[in-house]
Amino acid sequence: MSPILSVAHVGVRFGGLVAIADLHFDVAEGEIVSLIGPNGAGKTTAFNVMTGFLKPSQGEVRFRGTPLRGLAPHEITRLGLARTFQRTSVFPDDTVFDNVMIGLHRHAAGTGRAPLLDALVGRAGAGERALRERAVALLDWVGLGARAQERAGALAYGEQRLVGVALALATEPAMLLLDEPVSGMNASETRVFVRLIRQIRERGVTILLVEHDMPMVMEVSDRIVVLNYGRLIAAGPPAAIRSDPAVIEAYLGQGSAARRAAAEAREAADA
């Protein structure tokens, strides 16, 4: 089976700093893969490259066989690769319902040949009704049905995460990149979320996630890819990763100098 996403020898440099070096891995269709590594290992940078927010200095990313080089983020989304964000995952001033409606942007395009004209003469009515029904269904599905009319920015942190997932799902992706989806969630919220991730996969969506919550990663992943200092140090099923000496060294054996270097790399990646 051909991989849905392949990251081929990708490198990212910021000035003289190497954020990612020669990153190389594939994700197969229907998999749940986790990308882990200590702080500043280059995980979010890798996400930004995959979704078009950053241009790689070298190498390329292919999604369903299409090279993503030169594509803008919205074009990549339209190919079926969606993502969530670590920090801000919602449109804060809109209601939860409207958030999802914004997320459904790409679908409204199908309602007519001249969508702008349709909107202006009020011909978009039927399409709009259908969209609203989808939005409601989607919110119910992620468990936010009761929150639909609340301002997204006013929701609890964990719920904002769910809105972010609903937004990403609204684009009907074939693959979903989740950036630290359970950070800030309590144990029971995390359990619910793990169930949600599995349900998403059951709908046929491949999942790549970056996460620090190791028990959660071990529980949900089919495979794990480990980064350190922007390099791939291990890849394999959870059981193998758990006992991989390089991974243990990366997580436990960080001296203070190493931590500082990692922090620097992280700063560069975020800048």
Partner: protein, 344 residues
């Protein structure tokens, strides 16, 4: 706030001249206010709904005014290299259409630019754009008459097939023309912001990265907003030219942009009613203040009012009042019934 409010306001504005009698002075103030309010509504599309602080908005207004005036006056210009363009006068209604289109085309340029140039740079580029256009209007005397002003601009004539033509000479006719154009602009903006384009604009304004990641094409969305916004400003400029029947390069004055910004910010940016309310207040305030205050003192007041509003009511009068109303218990809005953006 209900949907009835805009309708009630419209009905009030339609009936207003009857209540005023035939005071040409007040009618004049209302017409100019109406034109500026259309400008403010169009600015709101950029400033309020997409969050692009364009301070060169007056350029579109002025381009609409000049293109419309020159189309209906005709011109004869030597372009150099033996090229000479002679244009015979066309009806003012065609001028109106061309003025609107030309302004829209310039909006397309600014829209493309707005994604390349961000933040403070964008603000300064838009101001510079308006200033360059003003200097061209001032110095290309052969075409624009420069500081001599374009005079004798004909009033707009509406041609009704089979019914002959109707020239809008009186103030009352112009008042209803401005009201009609304003209503049309209101409807277009209302439709637009309630549609997926409106959601895309809001998305980009609130969280650009997230908007991109759900597949919103930022450049395209901003360009659409800028084109429509500029075209409306151009339409307002054209109305201005054909109503006053004289325009000079000072039509590009930065202070007019500032007036529009004050109208939008005070009324409530990103709301449909905000610029209308702000426009009426700040358009008619000079009329009310004229007997008691010198114009320069009025401008001091406007400057301070802008600061106070930003401090006390940063979201503007309309959302501020709506917030007061909403604080009382009210039944939750039904989930499936969409409302115009005013409700938000």
């Amino acid at each position: 706030m209900s949907r009835l409010l805009p309708l009630a306001l419209l009905a009030g504005l339609v009936a207003l001249p009857l209540a005023l009698g035939a005071s040409p002075y007040l009618l004049n103030a209302l017409i100019v206010t109406g034109i500026l309010t259309i400008g403010a509504m169009s600015l709101n599309l950029l400033l309020g709904f997409t969050g692009q602080l364009s301070l060169g908005h007056i350029a579109f207004f002025g381009i609409g005014a000049y293109v419309s005036a020159l189309t209906s006056l005709g011109f004869d210009v030597e372009l150099g290299f033996g090229l000479r363009v002679v244009h015979e006068p066309w009806p003012a209604a065609i001028g109106f259409a061309l003025g609107t289109l030309a302004a829209g085309a310039c909006g397309w340029l600014i829209g493309r630019l707005s994604f390349r140039v961000r933040g403070a740079y964008f603000v300064i580029v838009t101001i510079s754009f308006a200033e360059v256009v003003r200097l061209v209007a001032l110095n290309w005397v052969e075409l624009t008459q420069g500081p001599l002003a374009l005079t004798g601009i004909p009033p707009i004539t509406l041609g009704l097939p089979g019914l002959g033509t109707w020239t809008l000479r009186t103030k009352l006719q112009n008042y209803y023309l401005v009201l009609a154009v304003g209503t049309l602009c209101w409807l277009v903006i209302a439709r637009l912001v309630g549609s997926r384009f409106g959601r895309a604009m809001r998305g980009l304004k609130e969280n650009e990265s997230l908007a991109l990641s759900v597949g919103i094409n930022a450049t395209r969305t901003l360009t659409v907003a800028a084109v429509i916004s500029a075209a409306m400003a151009g339409a307002a400029g054209s109305l201005y030219a054909h109503y006053l029947r004289i325009i000079d390069p000072d039509v590009f004055a930065f202070t007019t942009t500032v007036s529009m910004v004050i109208m939008v910010v005070a009324g409530g940016k990103g709301t449909l009613m905000g610029p209308v309310v702000g426009g009426l207040i700040f358009g008619l305030l000079p009329v009310a203040l004229r007997p008691v205050m010198a114009p320069e003192a009025q401008w001091i007041v406007y400057g301070l009012v802008l600061i106070v509003i930003l401090f006390v009511m940063p979201r503007g009068i309309v959302p501020g009042l709506a917030g007061l109303v909403r604080r009382r218990p009210s039944p939750p809005a039904p989930v499936l019934e969409p409302g115009p953006a005013v409700q938000r």
